[in-house]
């Protein structure tokens, strides 16, 4: 099939995979800085293209080639066309607010592909070394868990699955399924029982484990879970790379496995949760209804007064939350910001790590509206600046500016780092009604003497503020 002799073909493949590994690592490195990030994905994409083309053009890589090679090559083209085509269209269409669940979906596909590689290998029932057999089984297990688990994560964030299913002894049941999968997997890996029934049972258990592990976890914790499954898929890919003797897969999978683990830790830390807590406690969407004593009253302000206050300010810090994105108000907010900047007001955006649906998500949403990243600051950078701000404008955010997190030990959000919006001379809160945040906790900020509430839909309120600022001369 190949147009070169076997030795030259082997060389070509090795060099191509080496180039792919290099481009992946350089691409990820460039993606780690906002200045070079855009070229990073192009580098990594080049690596992917090289690896795919070379693998397709040199199928003599496999030692035992199938007698159906011609048919199989057609099947490869059809599968790539269908899978790639659907993903391309869906990836182009997805709204920026829905990005987290889309990442979960694509990640689950990768896990499923790793499990499929293991399945083809194991259904063949051929002799493996113990190492190859073990890695095939482990990669299959992790890939299967990532596949079904990511599917549930997608369903939850997309609103298809609204409930968190919990019952007593759930952890015990999960452990039982895991133990069962490991026992069956052990029998397969050691060659004790490589029957089709055993392999099928193994994959059923792996998929089941992904479901039962993910169903009890609440929507608010899903980003951490998605990140964890991303790292796990990387690991599964690395293991299957060993099974298929493919260095590009081993390196790329391991890099993602370790980078993804670090990213998961960073995210969990940014959300003030430990990973064990996320996986085994089942908080995430309940919070708790503990309400500390709140004194004072909510003092309303109208849009024209709020607009004047900002127009004559030296410095305004805007605190956006997911509510702003839901109201699609980010474009109006940026328009308002530009007006203020033109008047000589210093404006900055303060982003709490959980301002969007996952750390960094709000930055993406603001970037979509055209806000340049260098006027966006994260919690550590901006918190000392609130004291020098004349106005803190809070739009669609709630728990992340609640001062009870600082001092009320009975509060479920006690200890969570918050943005010190209450330290600004005036706090203006745009709010739809008198409701509470997703955790259902009363926000003490709303009752402070320096806080004014501007009631209304985020987009409408921003439009009124724009009109108010324009009318100031």
């Amino acid at each position: 099939m190949s147009f070169l002799n076997p030795v030259a073909t082997k060389w070509l493949i090795d060099i191509a995979y080496f180039a792919t590994a290099f481009l992946f690592i350089m691409g990820l490195k460039r993606m780690a800085s906002p200045v070079t990030a855009r070229s990073g994905i192009v580098w990594a994409g080049g690596g992917m293209l090289i690896a795919t083309l070379v693998t397709f053009l040199a199928p003599s890589l496999g030692t035992e080639l199938s007698s159906h090679l011609g048919t199989n090559m057609v099947l490869v083209v059809v599968a790539i066309a269908i899978g790639g085509g659907i993903a391309w269209v869906s990836g182009q269409r997805v709204a920026m607010t829905d990005m987290p669940q889309m990442i979960a979906l694509y990640n689950g596909m990768g896990g499923g592909a790793a499990a499929a590689i293991a399945a083809v290998e194991l259904y063949k029932g051929e002799e493996h070394t113990l190492v190859a057999g073990t890695l095939a089984v482990l990669g299959g297990l992790i890939g299967g868990v990532s596949f079904s688990g990511s599917g549930i994560a997608f369903g939850k964030l997309q609103g298809l699955i609204k409930k968190s299913y919990r019952f007593g002894g759930q952890q015990f049941v999960n452990m039982l399924i895991l133990a069962g999968a490991l026992v069956v997997g052990g029998l397969i890996a050691t060659g004790t029982n490589t029957s089709m029934e055993a392999v099928t049972l193994f994959f059923v258990l792996a998929l089941l484990l992904g479901l039962t592990m993910t169903l009890p976890i609440g929507g608010a914790d899903m980003p951490v879970v998605i990140s964890l499954y991303n790292a796990l898929t990387g690991l599964a890919v690395a293991f299957e790379g060993f099974v298929t003797q493919n260095t590009a897969m081993i390196i790329a999978g391991t890099v993602v496995g370790s980078a993804g683990s670090l990213l998961t830790q960073l995210m969990a830390k940014a959300m003030n949760r430990s990973l064990g807590n996320v996986l085994f406690s089942g908080f995430g969407d309940t919070g708790g209804a503990a309400t500390g004593p709140v004194t004072g009253s909510q003092k309303p302000i109208d849009a024209s007064d709020a607009g004047v206050a900002m127009a004559f300010a030296q410095k305004v810090i805007i605190v956006p939350g997911y509510g702003m994105a839901v109201a699609q108000a980010q474009h109006k907010v940026w328009e308002m910001t530009q007006l203020l900047i033109d008047r000589g007001v210093t404006v900055k955006f303060a982003i709490h790590p959980v301002a969007g649906r996952m750390p960094g998500h709000m930055n993406v949403l603001l970037a979509e509206a055209g806000v340049p990243y260098d006027i966006i600051a994260d919690l550590d950078e901006i918190n000392a600046e609130f004291e020098t701000a004349d106005v803190a404008l809070i739009i669609g955010a709630n728990d992340v500016v609640n001062p009870v997190a600082r001092n009320d030990k009975s509060s479920p959000i006690y200890g969570m780092p918050i943005l010190n919006a209450d330290k600004a001379k005036t706090c203006i809160v745009i709010k739809r009604g008198q409701g509470q945040g997703f955790s259902g906790i009363e926000n003490a900020l709303f009752y402070l003497d320096n806080t004014r509430l501007l009631y209304g839909d985020g987009q409408k309120a921003a439009a009124e503020l724009i009109a108010a600022i324009k009318s100031v001369d």
């Binding site: 780690a32 990073g40 999978g253």
Partner: protein, 102 residues
Amino acid sequence: MIDGIIALYIFLLAGFTGYEVIGRVPAILHTPLMSGSNFVHGIVVVGAMIALFKADTPLEQAIGFIGVLLGAGNAMGGYVVTARMLEMFKSSGSKAKSGGHH
């Protein structure tokens, strides 16, 4: 042939590489970076292709086909959404109308 000990070395070095590459990354890039690393493990499509090339029975062909389809979805979807997100990251220096400072 990659034997066990060589594979261990690769795991070790690639593991450290991933950790170092991502370390100290600003929170603003967490979401695109997760998406980017999600794209990178889309390399699994290559393994699925090799598995499908070697498939003998209709069952193996069917599973291999699903594997390639899913892997291609991972790679293509991961690329498109990462590129879309990163495309939007611009500094105020690159915008005509802005008051950002450097």
